[in-house]
């Protein structure tokens, strides 16, 4: 023991002598600081949290993909090509030859079929993505099959456009898991779920080395990845909850990329030669919803008036600068069918006259439920101020996100400020939320956003369903344009902003692009010079 104590004492003493010896990050390791406390699992059959999906995007290859090289083009992933039967019900995928998993075992159609079945059987959060194809625990094994070692075939039981089904096959649920490994770690019939939470059995660009909840995730390249090995040797995603700490770490070079800096922190980096800032569009929509169960908000004139009482440009030019831009339709820019239709701007006089027409010349009082963190708080305060100019007194009720969502799902709000992110890269995901409500009872099968605001819309819902199954893509686009206009004009949503993602990184880092959605955030082209 003595022998150990002495060097330890020296080590302690040497601390004072050599203080500035802190390493910059190792050259072949990319260190990303990010708030990752939302991750509860990295099993692609269960993973549905934003940070978790981003990490799984880099670990698991999917049936089809939008690749980092061109994120606007649908290409084969595990599958090389595909065919769709004339009636749009049977999809056949031909897998690429010679693919292997991270452990060197060959990847077959059996693995692909198992992975899709597994999502439906596990019935965790992302299962609804595949449920909409008409798949259930009881029928999925018959409907999804490997017909040859390199051929996967499945049948859908719902009326959906092939482009929508193919887009679903680029989402997290189409990740291909190695069947043998998953089953080898099965416990209590969980298809390997418990084990796969923190291990990987994948064929994508990376394998998972370790995930420590609320602390870090470490990825190392899969040298056999079909597009070639990544440009770095290790990616460490570190949970740094406080953004000011992320900023300091970046300035000191202890991390390479900071993902959660606030607008003023980004601004403070201007002129710093060691750091560069790039902005990428995100796909979250920020909106305020109006519950039409409320007698006043049921009045279309009142809803229109409130849409004229938001200082869209003022917010974007001040506290939202660089993190959001004005976008007043439900499809984010970058999605099929997105438009830049934006009819509203702050116009107090017009709002006042609309309120007078509606019978409220002196305004009224409303409650606004909003999340208690930035930038929700600031947006809520801005709204409170501009609504006040037309006599609409807003009292803000700040709360944790989970409790705001609880209020929303039980329709107990009047006004509610929240954001919405698409589930997969297809317009139907948002249309299905904003423009569908055919069952306005208190216990519907699902609770789309239109339902949460008691906006009962049988005709518009039908248009949404029609758009989802339209085989002709040009026609499909025009259907979505029409739907968006209707929702923006008459709907119970004040659609305000789309997110942008400012990413600050060390100047020697290249190739990191934040994706429009988490399914499009790739680590493999990031390198350090």
């Amino acid at each position: 023991m003595h022998r150990r104590v002495l060097p330890a004492a020296f080590a302690a003493l040497s601390l004072a002598a050599a203080p500035a010896a802190f390493a910059v990050t190792p050259r072949d390791t990319v260190v990303i600081a990010k708030q990752i406390d939302d991750i509860i699992t990295l099993d692609p059959g269960e993973d549905y949290e934003l940070s978790g999906v981003e990490i799984a995007t880099n670990i698991y290859d999917r049936l089809l993909r939008y690749e980092a090289e061109d994120v606007s083009k649908l290409v084969g992933g595990v599958a090389e090509g595909w065919t769709v039967s004339p009636d749009g019900k049977v999809f056949t995928f031909k897998l690429r030859a010679g693919q292997t998993f991270q452990d060197g075992e060959p990847l077959t159609a059996e693995d692909a079929a198992f992975s899709l079945q597994r999502v439906v059987i596990l019935d965790k959060t992302p299962a609804f993505l595949l449920d909409q194809l008409g798949w259930t625990k009881d029928n999925v094994k018959d409907l999804v099959k490997a017909t040859a070692p390199d051929t996967l075939e499945f049948t859908i039981q719902a009326d959906l456009a092939p482009s929508l089904v193919l887009n679903l096959m680029t989402s997290i649920v189409a990740s291909v898991v190695e069947k043998k490994v998953a089953l080898a770690h099965e416990a209590n019939g969980d298809l390997g779920n418990a084990w796969l939470k923190s291990h990987s059995a994948a064929s994508g660009a990376y394998k998972l080395v370790a995930w420590k909840p609320d602390e870090s995730a470490v990825l190392e390249p899969n040298p056999k990845f079909r597009l070639g090995p990544p440009l770095n040797k290790r990616v460490l995603v570190r949970h740094v909850p406080e953004t000011a700490s992320q900023l300091l770490l970046l300035q000191k070079g202890d991390i390479d990329i900071a993902q959660n800096l606030s607008p003023d922190q980004i601004a403070s980096l201007a002129g710093n030669k060691d750091i560069k800032v790039e902005s990428f569009p995100g796909s979250d929509s920020w909106y305020m919803s109006m519950n039409v169960a409320d007698e006043r908000l049921k009045n279309p004139k009142v809803r229109e008036a409130l849409k004229y009482l938001v200082d869209y440009d003022g917010m974007v030019d001040s506290f939202l600068k660089g993190i959001m831009f004005v976008h007043q339709t439900f499809l984010p820019r970058g999605f099929l069918g997105a438009t830049d239709y934006a009819p509203y701007k702050l116009d107090v006089a017009k709002a006042k006259s609309l309120l007078a027409e509606a019978g409220y010349p002196n305004g009224f009082e409303l409650r606004l439920d909003a999340r208690n963190t930035s930038p929700s708080t600031e947006i809520a305060q801005s709204v409170q101020q501009t609504f006040g100019e037309a006599g609409v007194k807003v009292s803000i009720v700040p709360a944790e996100l989970k409790s705001v969502l609880g209020i929303y799902r039980s329709r107990k709000h009047q006004l509610l400020l929240v954001n919405w992110g698409p589930d997969y890269f297809d317009p139907h995901t948002n249309a299905d939320a904003f423009a569908r409500n055919t069952d306005n009872s208190d216990k519907p099968a699902t609770k789309p956003l239109a339902w949460r605001n008691s906006w009962y819309i049988p005709e518009i819902s039908k248009e949404t369903a029609d758009a989802a199954k339209e085989l002709d893509t040009a026609k499909r686009v025009s259907l979505y344009e029409d739907l968006q206009k209707k929702v923006t004009d008459d709907g119970p949503f004040i659609l305000m902003f789309q997110t942008a993602q400012p990413i600050a990184s060390r100047a020697n880092v290249s190739g990191f692009k934040a994706g429009l959605t988490e399914d499009l955030s790739f680590y493999r082209l990031t390198e350090k010079h």
């Binding site: 080590a11 959060t125 000011a244 700490s245 300091l248 000191k252 202890d254 989970k402 609880g406």
Partner: protein
Amino acid sequence: MAVRAAAGGGLPWRGVGRRVLRTLVSMVLTFLGLTVVTFFIGRVIPIDPVLAIVGAKASNETYDRVRAEIGLDLPVPVQYWRYLEKVLHGDFGTSVITSQPVLQDMLSVFPATLELSIPALLIGVVFGVPLGVAAAVNRGRWPDHLIRVVSLFGYSMPVFWLGLVGLLAFYAKLGWVAGPGRLDVGYDDIVAPVTGIITVDALLAGEYGVFANAVQHLILPASILGYLSMAYVARMTRSFMLGQLRQEYVLAALAKGLSHARVVWVHALGNVWVPLITVIALTFGSLLEGAVLTETVFSWPGLGLYMKNSLFNADLNAVLGGTMVVGSAYILLNLISDLLYPLVDPRARERP
């Protein structure tokens, strides 16, 4: 009363036995009380634990299934009884956030908090007590004012702000200490966790580089927490000492010709150790509860951060587990204080 009569046989070991029994009963009751309060608070907070698991987009069917799975459809007393049964078998359930058994989570977050709290407490006591004594002795003169200002500052500054300013100065500008986190990236995963306290594990493994790096990361957050503890300990020591210095025995001792230093540091300070031990134990307890804000600023994955996350996500098992750990820590500290009293106060020795 019957118990007292029966046990009061006069033999010393009987007294000890009674004390141990009393302590055990109060421990069990405290634990029960803890679980009851935490459990019922957990059931009335406005966050829906089911939503925390299934997400906002889940169908009603999934929602109802998960609700039944975690037993929320049962009456609350039944839920409580089930929970208690499991806890008695050592099963604290699984955390929603980390998907790991809560017990395992505790074994990783509690050592992180311990690593931060022990140095902080040492700093607090080693500096706080002498400063408090010095302030009391110099009451109303400049050393007193200076010490009071220093401790008032520590008492009233938001720890969040202190942490960020500390990082800005000593990490970003001066480069004297390491930044947020417990280790630099290059030192991660070198030492396998044994105790979970990185400095100790590094020494056990003989990895002095890791040890040095861990200490560099530890210095700043521990000093800041230590400063806050010091402020409290110094204030309390000062007021206890003032009470003693007013007593007649001090005058008598001085009149008898004892040196001023001896009177102050041995006689007067000797008499305030009992309340002071309580203060120190409480300080340690509050450090162990986890300094949420410090842990946030310094990305320190300790108990405070864990509990905060669990609370905000309605992760009831994790909250209950954490509360039990904090509760046990307090009970243990109480026990230790009880054992220490006789060492510093002869009167306490004679009590059975």
